[in-house]
C-alpha cells in the first residue's frame, strides 16, 4: 500500500534528526513496521527513494537485523528468552509449553494473526529470569502457566500488563512507532524499577 502524505512527512522528520540521511535507515525500517507490521517491499522502496539508495542496499541492512521481520508477525509478538541463564531457570520449559499450547513453531504465527512466537537472546533482564518479552515489553519472572494465560489473553484481546512497562500492552505496530522515535506519551506509566533492581539500594538503607 502506498504511504499517506502525513506518513511521508513523518519519514522526513526522522531523516532530519541526523547529520547524514543514511543514518535514518534503521528508524525508518522501524517506522515501516509500525505501518505495515513488517518490512514490506513498498516500505523498502520508499526508504530507498528518500535516502537515494538502491533498494538492494536497504534490503541488505534490513536482513542483517533480527527485529526487522520479512513476514507479518502477530499483533502480539512473544519472545521467550532461551539464552543460557533464562533457559536453565525455566525458559526452555516455557518455550516448549507455549509452542505446544499455540500449536506453532519458532517464528510461527497463529492462524488468527494474533500471536507470533520466537525464542530470543538475553534481553538484559537476567535478574528477572525467566524473562518473556511481548512487543518488546518486559514480562518478568514468568512460569509456564503465566505465559499460557498471557498468550490466551493476547488472543482474546486483553493481554495482562507488562511487569515493567505501560499500564496496557500496546500492539506490535504501536510499539514499532516508539522504536522509530515517535512518542506515545506513556513513559510516565509503570514502575521506576522492579524489586531486584532495587535490592542493593534497599539493603543499603537497612531494610
Amino acid at each position: 500500500m502506498a504511504f499517506t502524505t502525513e506518513q511521508l512527512t513523518i519519514m522526513d522528520s526522522i531523516i532530519a534528526r541526523y547529520p547524514k540521511s543514511r543514518s535514518a535507515i534503521m528508524p525508518l525500517l522501524h517506522y515501516v513496521q509500525s505501518i505495515d507490521g513488517y518490512v514490506t517491499s513498498t516500505g523498502i522502496e520508499i526508504i530507498a527513494e528518500k535516502l537515494e539508495l538502491a533498494t538492494a542496499e536497504v534490503t541488505a541492512v534490513s536482513t542483517f537485523y533480527t527485529q526487522y521481520k520479512p513476514e507479518p508477525v502477530g499483533e502480539y509478538h512473544v519472545g521467550v528468552c532461551t539464552n543460557t541463564l533464562c533457559a536453565v531457570m525455566g525458559g526452555d520449559a516455557i518455550f516448549a509449553a507455549v509452542k505446544e499450547h499455540l500449536g506453532i513453531e519458532n517464528d510461527g504465527v497463529t492462524a488468527d494473526g494474533k500471536v507470533s512466537l520466537e525464542h530470543i537472546e538475553c534481553n538484559a533482564a537476567c535478574d528477572y529470569a525467566p524473562v518473556v518479552m511481548v512487543n518488546w515489553e518486559f514480562y518478568d519472572n514468568q512460569t509456564v502457566e503465566s505465559v499460557k494465560s498471557l498468550v490466551d489473553g493476547a488472543r482474546n484481546g486483553n493481554p495482562p500488563a507488562p511487569t515493567r512497562g505501560p499500564k496496557t500492552l500496546r500492539t506490535w505496530k504501536e510499539n514499532s512507532a516508539v522504536l522509530a522515535g515517535l512518542s506515545d506519551g506513556l513513559a510516565g506509566e509503570g514502575v521506576s524499577a522492579g524489586e531486584p533492581s532495587k535490592l542493593g539500594l534497599k539493603i543499603s538503607r537497612g531494610n
Binding site: R17, R22, T84, L85, V88, V178, S197, G200, S204
Partner: protein
C-alpha cells in the same frame, strides 16, 4: 553495615525517579553548571584523576580516551553512548536507564563539552520499548529545560542529542560495528586502526563510551576525583553496578566499590537458593571465562579477576548451582555466538558453526574423548585469528569449562546422554507458583 554505595541507583525506589523533577530534587543538572564553568581540558583532567575506567567490558581509562580526541582540528567531534547491552548476563544499563535516564543525559552533556562535540548519540538496543520511552521523554524534558540544544544554560555551548534505536544484533555492541550501524550500514566491525578517536562516526573523531561510564561522570564532577578514587582498589577506582542473577535466593543489582567479592555479594543476595550449592559462575558475562566455588574470594576488580584467569567484563555475575549441566550451558552460549557472528571473517563464522555441531553431539552423548580436543583445536583456530573480540568471547566458556569440568563432558559420553534433570534447575522446581 554493608559495603554498598548506591549512587546511580540511589533513588530508584522513588515512584517518579525517571523524571526531571525527581532528578533535580536530588541536585540533578548541578554538575553541568559546574562543568560548563571549567575549561574542557580541566574536565578531562578531572575524569583522568578520578581513575574512572570504562564499564562496557574492557576497562579502558575514560579520561584518557577523551584525551585522544584531537583538539583544534576544525572537525566535528561526536560522542556515542553504547546502550546496546546484549552480552549474555549483562543487565545493569537497562534498569539504570529505566529508572534514572537523566543521569546519563547530564553525563553526556559534560562529556560532549569536554571533547568539544556538538552532536551526541545514544545507541540503544531495540528490544526494550519501555526503556526507549523513558529516554525519549527524558531527552525531551532536558531540551525543554534548556540543558540541550542551543546555548545551553546561557553558556554559549550547543549540543544536539539523538536517540538511535537498534534492531537486534549483539555485534552492534562492538564499538566499530555500532558506528557502521549508526551510519546506516550492516553492523560489522571495522579494521583498526584508525581508531574511533581519529576516524569514528562519519570518519570524524569520536568517543564511544558505555552507559554506566558516562553516567558516573556527574557524580565525579559534583564530589571530586578524590571522592571517587577513595572507593575501590588501587587500579580499579570507584563504585559500580554488580548484577547477580541465576540460582541465588535474591537476584538483583548491587552498587558497590570495585573489589567486592562474590562471597560478599552472595551474603547480600541471601546466598545460593536454599538447599543448593554454587557450581560455576561468570564474573562479567558469558564472554568471560567461568569461575567456580574456589573463586568466591577473588576481588571483583579489573586486576583481581584477570589474575585469577578471567575478566571483570560487565560485572554480570550469572550464578549456577549443582543442578545445572555445564555442557548444556556452554552449548547454549555457543549457539548464541554462532547466531550473532556477523559473518565477516571465516574463522569466526565457520568455527562457531563447528563448535555448535560438536557440542550438540557431546550433549547427546555422541563422540569420544578426542572430540574434546577437537573443540580446543577449533577454538585455537578462532582465537586471535578473527576480526573482533566476539570470537574470543565464544572461546571463553569452552576453554574454561573444559578446564574445570572435563569429567562432566566425559560423563555425557559414558552414560550416552545428559545425566542432569533440567527440571531441577528451574525456578518452578523450588518456588512453586512464583
Amino acid at each position: 553495615m554493608t559495603k554498598l554505595t548506591p549512587v546511580l541507583s540511589a533513588h530508584w525506589d522513588e515512584a517518579d525517579s525517571f523524571t526531571i523533577g525527581a532528578y533535580k530534587r536530588h541536585g540533578g543538572y548541578g554538575a553541568v553548571v559546574k562543568a560548563l564553568e571549567m575549561e574542557p581540558d580541566a574536565v578531562i583532567q578531572l575524569v583522568k584523576d578520578s581513575g574512572l575506567r570504562g564499564r562496557g567490558g574492557a576497562g579502558f581509562p575514560t579520561g584518557m580516551k577523551w584525551g585522544f580526541i584531537p583538539q583544534g582540528d576544525n572537525k566535528d567531534h561526536y560522542l556515542v553512548v553504547n546502550a546496546d547491552e546484549s552480552e549474555p548476563g549483562t543487565c545493569k544499563d537497562m534498569p539504570l536507564l529505566m529508572a534514572n535516564p537523566h543521569v546519563l543525559i547530564e553525563g553526556i552533556i559534560i562529556a560532549s563539552y569536554a571533547i568539544r562535540a556538538g552532536y551526541a548519540f545514544i545507541y540503544i538496543r531495540g528490544e526494550v520499548t519501555h526503556v526507549v520511552r523513558r529516554l525519549q521523554a527524558a531527552i525531551a524534558e532536558a531540551y525543554a529545560a534548556g540543558h540541550l540544544g542551543k546555548n545551553i544554560q546561557g553558556k554559549g555551548y550547543d549540543l544536539e542529542l539523538v536517540l538511535h534505536v537498534g534492531a537486534g544484533a549483539y555485534i552492534c555492541g562492538e564499538e566499530t560495528a555500532l558506528l557502521d550501524s549508526l551510519e546506516g550500514f550492516r553492523g560489522q566491525p571495522r579494521l583498526r586502526p584508525p581508531f574511533p578517536a581519529i576516524a569514528g562516526l562519519y570518519a570524524k573523531p569520536t568517543v564511544v563510551n558505555n552507559v554506566e561510564s558516562i553516567s558516573s561522570v556527574p557524580s565525579i564532577i559534583n564530589n571530586g576525583a578524590e571522592w571517587f578514587s577513595a572507593m575501590g582498589t588501587e587500579k580499579s577506582k570507584g563504585y559500580t553496578l554488580y548484577s547477580l542473577s541465576g540460582h541465588v535466593a535474591n537476584p538483583g543489582q548491587f552498587e558497590a566499590p570495585l573489589g567486592i567479592t562474590l562471597r560478599e555479594l552472595l551474603e547480600l543476595a541471601g546466598g545460593i537458593r536454599p538447599g543448593h550449592q554454587l557450581k560455576f559462575w561468570t564474573p562479567g558475562g558469558s564472554s568471560t571465562p567461568i569461575f567456580t566455588a574456589e573463586h568466591l574470594d577473588v576481588a571483583l576488580d579489573y586486576e583481581g579477576v584477570s589474575a585469577a584467569g578471567s575478566m571483570l567484563g560487565t560485572k554480570a555475575l550469572q550464578v549456577f548451582d549443582e543442578t545445572t549441566c555445564i555442557v548444556r550451558a556452554v552449548l547454549r552460549w555457543t549457539e548464541f555466538y554462532k547466531h550473532e557472528s556477523c559473518g565477516k571473517c571465516t574463522p569466526c563464522r565457520e568455527g562457531t558453526w563447528w563448535l555448535v555441531q560438536i557440542l550438540r553431539d557431546l550433549e547427546a552423548g555422541i563422540g569420544t574423548a578426542a572430540d574434546l580436543d577437537k573443540l580446543l583445536d577449533v577454538v585455537d583456530n578462532i582465537m586471535g585469528r578473527s576480526f573482533c573480540a566476539l570470537a574470543d568471547g565464544a572461546a571463553s566458556p569452552i576453554i574454561s569449562s573444559l578446564k574445570y569440568f572435563r569429567e562432566e563432558y566425559m560423563q555425557h559420553l559414558t552414560t550416552g546422554g545428559c545425566p542432569f534433570d533440567p527440571v531441577a534447575s528451574t525456578v518452578f522446581a523450588t518456588a512453586g507458583s512464583r
